[in-house]
C-alpha cells in the first residue's frame, strides 16, 4: 500500500457534517484555481501574459467601467455611444450567448435533481430548433403577428424537446435502460436529423445549407431595432430570450420548493426507496421530469433559431453540454444557474477572438474539472502518513 519506493502512504478520509456554506466557498475557490490552471495552459498555448489574457476576456465579456459610464450617459442624454458599439456591446453579446445555456443549464438542473443524468440536452435543443423552424417557415404564414408566431414557435420547440426527452425517460421508467447512454446517443440522431433537413434534405436552399432568413415575425426583436428611440442601442443584438431563461429559473424554483410535484422530485432524488415507501409513483415522475428537462432544452433551441433568424448547417453543437457544466457549477440551484450562465456567456464571448479556437472549450473543461475536484477535496481529506513497519505477527507466520 505504500507509495512506490517510500515509507509513506496516502489515506483518503471523508469529512462529515460540513456546514452549508462550504459548497459555495468550494465553488468559488474552484473557479479561482481553474483560472490558475487555465493560465498555465494559456502559457503553453502561446500567451505571454495569461493574467492579461484573463483581463481581456473579462473586458470582452462584460465591458469596462468606463464603457458602462459612457453608455449610461449616452442612454440618459439620448445620444450615440461615443465608442461605437463598445458601450454595452460586450454585455449584450454575453446575454445573447447566455440565454441558450441558461435554458439547457436549467434542463440539466431539473433532471439532475432527480439523479436522472440527462446529457441529451443538446439533442433536445436541436429538435426544439427544428420544430420551431418548421412552424416559422413552413406551417404558419409570414404575415402571422409576431407575438403569435413567436409563441407558436416556443410551443413547438417545447413540445418537440419534451417528446425527445420523454423517449429516454420512458425507456428508463419502464425498462430501466440507462438514460446516460440513450440521451447521449439520441444527440447524434438529432444532429443528423437536422443536418438531413437543412443540408441535403427538403429544407435546404441548395448550396446554402440553410432554411434561409426567417420572416421578421419569426425572429426575436433586437435592441438595435429600437435605435431611433434609443440611439445608444445601435448594433446591440440582445434579445428577450434571456427573460425566458430567468422566467424558467423562477418557475423551476417554485416547482422545486413550493409545489407538490417538486416535493416528489426532491424525495425521489434524495431517496427513491423512501419515495416508493410514501406511495410516490417513481416511474411516472421519471417520465415527467425528463419531459420537463427536454422541454427546457427544446425552448433553448427555439430561442436560438429566433435569435439567429435561420436554421443552418452550422447550428452550434455543444450548448447542451455547456448546460451540464452550468448546472453543476450552480450546484443544481435554478437561481444560481442564471448567474453561472451569464458568466459562461461572458467566457464564450471573451474567448471568441482568442487563437487557437479551442481555448474556450479548454477553459470550460478545466473549470468543471477543477471545481468538481475542489468539491471532492472539501468533502474528503487526503493524508500522507508514514507507514510504520508493524511487527510481523506470529499469527501470520503460524498459518503459512
Amino acid at each position: 500500500m505504500n507509495l512506490p519506493g517510500t515509507h509513506y502512504r496516502l489515506r483518503i478520509e471523508s469529512r462529515s457534517n460540513l456546514p452549508a456554506w462550504v459548497g459555495a466557498v468550494s465553488a468559488i475557490i474552484g473557479v479561482f484555481l481553474a483560472l490558475v490552471v487555465g493560465g498555465f495552459m494559456l502559457r503553453a498555448a502561446g500567451a505571454t501574459d495569461p493574467i492579461g489574457t484573463y483581463i481581456e476576456i473579462f473586458k470582452e465579456g462584460f465591458g469596462t467601467p468606463a464603457d458602462w459610464a459612457a453608455g449610461l450617459h449616452a442612454l440618459f442624454t439620448g445620444t450615440d455611444c461615443p465608442k461605437g458599439m463598445q458601450c454595452f456591446g460586450p454585455f449584450s453579446d454575453t446575454l445573447v450567448k447566455a440565454s441558450p445555456i441558461m435554458l439547457t443549464g436549467l434542463a440539466c438542473v431539473i433532471a439532475f435533481r432527480m439523479k436522472l443524468w440527462n446529457i441529451g440536452a443538446d439533442g433536445q435543443m436541436f429538435l426544439g430548433a427544428w420544430a420551431a423552424t418548421a412552424v416559422a417557415v413552413f406551417l404558419l404564414p409570414k404575415t402571422t403577428p409576431r407575438p403569435v408566431m413567436l409563441a407558436a414557435m416556443a410551443v413547438a420547440g417545447i413540445l418537440a424537446g419534451m417528446a425527445y426527452g420523454v423517449i429516454p425517460g420512458f425507456l428508463k421508467a419502464r425498462l430501466n435502460i440507462n438514460e446516460i447512454v440513450t440521451t447521449l446517443m439520441l444527440n447524434y440522431v438529432a444532429y443528423l436529423w437536422v443536418e438531413y433537413f437543412v443540408v441535403v434534405g427538403p429544407w435546404s436552399l441548395g448550396d446554402f445549407e440553410s432554411t434561409g432568413r426567417f420572416p421578421t415575425s419569426a425572429t426575436w426583436p433586437r435592441l438595435t431595432d429600437y435605435v431611433k428611440q434609443i440611439p445608444v442601442a445601435a448594433g446591440l443584438t440582445a434579445h428577450p430570450g434571456i427573460f425566458l431563461g430567468i422566467a424558467a429559473a423562477l418557475l423551476l424554483t417554485w416547482i422545486l420548493y413550493r409545489s407538490r410535484w417538486g416535493y416528489e422530485i426532491r424525495v425521489i432524488g434524495n431517496n427513491p426507496k423512501a419515495a416508493r415507501y410514501a406511495g410516490i409513483d417513481v416511474a411516472r415522475n421519471i417520465i415527467l421530469v425528463m419531459g420537463l428537462s427536454g422541454a427546457l432544452a427544446g425552448l433553448a433551441g427555439m430561442n436560438e433559431v429566433a435569435a439567429q433568424r435561420e436554421l443552418n448547417g452550422r447550428f452550434q453543437q455543444g450548448l447542451g453540454f455547456t448546460g451540464v457544466i452550468v448546472a453543476w457549477l450552480a450546484r443544481l440551484n435554478p437561481i444560481a444557474a442564471i448567474f453561472v450562465a451569464i458568466l459562461f456567456g461572458a467566457l464564450l464571448v471573451g474567448t471568441q477572438l482568442i487563437q487557437p479556437q479551442g481555448i474556450s472549450s479548454m477553459l470550460q473543461g478545466v473549470i468543471l474539472f477543477v471545481v468538481v475536484g475542489t468539491e471532492l477535496l472539501f468533502h474528503y481529506q487526503i493524508k500522507l502518513e508514514k507507514a510504520e513497519s508493524t511487527a510481523p505477527s506470529a499469527a501470520e507466520a503460524s498459518h503459512d
Binding site: 457534517n17 410514501a278 506470529a394
Partner: protein
C-alpha cells in the same frame, strides 16, 4: 504469560467527531482468557472505542498497548497483525463465494498461487478445533445467519486474532444459536483468546461476561466490574443514569373488528425465490399481533407486500373491507395504513430533507399541507412544530436535516408521522432495533397507546423479549410459513425458540 495478564490495554482514548466527543479519556483493557462486555446506550461511544482498537479510527489522544507493548494501529491490517480482529454487526462476506474463499479474501498470502484445497483443509481443521463446524466449500448464501457468523469468527481466527471484538453478535440469532455462540466463546477463552462483547442486551451480558465496562456519553461509568456481582437493574442504571422499568405497562387488550385479513399469501424475494408460502392471519383493531422469527424468514417481504412495495404471487389481503392489490392507489390510502419500516434511514426517511419535510412524507398530497398544486409552507411548519413538541423529538430546529438526528429521534420522527395520521393498521418492523434503553421505552409506550386507541398493530421483531411483553397474540414464521400461533401471555420462550429454528411444535 500469567493467567490474568492484559491482552490489550487502551489508556486515555480521546476521539472527537464534529460536535461530539465520542470517547472522553476512556480506559479499557481485556485480560487473556476473558469475555469482557462493553455496555452502553446508542451513541455512548462503544463502537467508536472498538473501531479505534480495530485500527479504523485514529484517536486524538491516548495509547494502546498489546501485551504491554506500545503499538500504533493505523489500519485494520495493523490491528489484525497485532492479533486484534473485529466482527461487525453487518457481516463482510461475499455471498456467492465459498467459505474458504471468503476466509482468504483480502489477505496478502498466498502471494500468487491460491491452493484452495489446502485452505479448505485449514479452515476445516480450525473449525473442528473451535467447534465451529462449517463446510468450507459451501457458498455463503447457502448458509444460515448463525453459520455466516461462524465464518466471520473463522476468518478472524485464520488471520491469527487473539482478541476478538464482536459488535452485537446475538442480534440476528435464535435463542438456540445464541447458546451455541456462547459455548464457542467460552471455548475460545479457555484457549487464551480475549472476547470483547458489545451489547445492549443485559441478560446476555450477565450470562456470558466475566467483566463489564459501561460507557455513558463517551465516559466510563463502570470500569471492569465483575459480572458475577451485578444485577441487570444496576447495569441499566449505569447505562442510562436513571432507573429503568423493564416491564411494559399495559392493560388487557380489547380486540375489535378484523382490520387486516391475510389469506394464503405468497410472494417472491429479491432473488425470485418464494419468500412467503401461503401465509394466513388476521389482525383485529385494538390488538398487537407479534410476528416472531429469525431474520430472513419472510418478515421483510411480508411487510413490503402489505405496504405495496412488493407484488404478491398469489393470495389475498383484505384491509378494512377493501382488497389490496396492484390496483391499489397507495398514495391515496396514505395514512390509514401506517408502516414503520425496518430501515429507518434508507426507507423511512429522506436524510437530506428537513425534519419538517420528512414529517409530511405521507400527507403532502392533501390539505392542509397542500392545496391544488402548491404546498403550504406555513402548514408544513405548523405540522412540524406540533409533532416535534407532542412526540418529544430532540432537534435543534424543524429545518434540521434528519440525517443529523440520532437513531432514536429519527424513529420518533417516523412514529410521529405515522401515528398522527390516525391509522387503522400499523405495521412496525424492528421498531426499537439499535435504540437505547430510554428511546426503546418511549417507542414501546407509543405503540401500546396506539393499540389502546383502537389501531390494529402488526409488530415484526427479532427481539423475543420485546415481542412477548408488547404483543397480545404471537405468530411464528419460519421459511415463509406461519408455524405456530399462541397468546403472548404465558407463552413458553423455549418453545417459540424451537419454532423459530424450524422444529415442529409438539402436539
Amino acid at each position: 504469560m500469567a493467567e490474568s495478564a492484559d491482552a490489550f490495554e487502551m489508556r486515555g482514548i480521546v476521539q472527537r467527531f464534529p460536535g461530539v466527543l465520542a470517547n472522553d479519556h476512556v480506559d479499557f483493557a481485556g485480560r487473556v482468557g476473558e469475555v469482557h462486555a462493553l455496555l452502553g446506550e446508542n451513541g455512548a461511544g462503544k463502537s467508536t472505542l472498538m473501531n479505534v482498537l480495530a485500527g479504523l479510527y485514529h484517536p486524538e489522544a491516548g495509547e494502546i498497548l498489546i501485551h504491554g507493548q506500545h503499538v500504533v494501529l493505523r489500519s485494520p491490517q495493523d490491528a489484525i497483525a497485532n492479533g486484534i480482529g473485529m466482527i461487525h454487526q453487518h457481516f463482510m462476506l461475499v455471498p456467492n463465494q465459498t467459505v474458504a474463499e471468503n476466509t482468504v479474501l483480502g489477505l496478502n498470502r498466498p502471494r500468487f498461487f491460491l491452493n484452495l484445497r489446502k485452505i479448505e483443509e485449514q479452515v476445516q481443521a480450525l473449525g473442528e478445533q473451535y467447534g465451529l463446524s462449517v463446510n468450507p466449500r459451501a457458498k455463503i448464501w447457502e448458509l444460515s445467519v448463525g453459520e455466516q457468523q461462524r465464518v466471520e469468527v473463522l476468518k478472524m481466527l485464520f488471520r491469527g486474532a487473539k482478541v476478538l471484538i464482536m459488535d452485537e453478535p446475538t442480534a440476528v440469532l435464535t435463542p438456540q444459536e445464541v447458546e451455541g455462540l456462547f459455548v464457542t466463546l467460552r471455548d475460545m477463552t479457555k484457549r487464551g483468546h480475549t472476547i470483547v462483547f458489545i451489547s445492549h442486551k443485559l441478560d446476555e451480558v450477565v450470562a456470558i461476561a466475566d467483566r463489564v465496562t459501561v460507557l455513558r456519553r463517551g465516559k466510563v461509568t463502570a470500569a471492569s466490574v465483575s459480572a458475577r456481582g451485578v444485577t441487570k437493574a444496576q447495569l441499566a442504571n449505569l447505562m442510562v443514569g436513571r432507573e429503568v422499568i423493564f416491564k411494559v405497562d399495559k392493560k388487557k387488550a380489547k380486540p375489535g373488528d378484523v382490520v387486516l385479513e391475510v389469506n394464503r399469501l405468497c410472494c417472491d424475494n429479491d432473488r425470485g425465490l418464494p419468500a412467503l408460502r401461503e401465509v394466513s392471519f388476521q389482525v383485529q383493531a385494538g390488538e398487537i399481533l407479534g410476528l416472531a422469527g429469525v431474520a430472513g424468514n419472510g418478515q421483510r417481504e411480508l411487510a413490503e407486500v402489505l405496504t405495496g412495495l412488493r407484488c404478491t404471487t398469489s393470495g389475498t389481503m383484505n384491509f378494512n373491507g377493501t382488497l389490496l392489490n396492484r390496483h391499489t392507489h397507495w398514495l391515496e390510502l396514505g395514512q390509514q395504513l401506517a408502516h414503520v419500516p425496518e430501515d429507518r434511514a434508507a426507507v423511512g426517511s429522506v436524510q437530506a430533507l428537513s425534519v419538517a419535510e420528512n414529517l409530511i412524507l405521507k400527507r403532502f398530497n392533501r390539505p392542509p399541507i397542500s392545496k391544488g398544486w402548491s404546498i403550504n409552507s406555513i402548514a408544513v411548519k405548523q405540522n412540524a412544530v406540533k409533532l416535534v413538541k407532542e412526540y418529544n423529538i430532540a432537534t435543534p430546529t424543524v429545518e434540521t436535516h434528519v440525517g443529523m438526528l440520532s437513531g432514536g429521534n429519527l424513529q420518533k420522527v417516523i412514529l410521529a408521522r405515522e401515528i398522527s395520521g390516525h391509522p387503522k393498521l400499523m405495521i412496525a418492523v424492528h421498531p426499537t432495533r439499535g435504540l437505547d434503553v430510554g428511546a426503546t421505552e418511549a417507542v414501546h409506550k407509543l405503540l401500546v397507546e396506539q393499540r389502546d386507541s383502537g389501531t390494529a398493530l402488526l409488530l415484526i421483531s427479532e427481539d423475543l423479549d420485546e415481542l412477548m411483553s408488547l404483543s397480545d397474540r404471537l405468530v411464528v414464521i419460519y421459511e415463509g410459513r406461519i408455524v405456530g400461533e399462541m397468546p403472548a401471555e404465558g407463552a413458553d420462550i423455549r418453545r417459540i425458540g424451537l419454532m423459530m429454528a424450524g422444529t415442529k411444535a409438539e402436539s
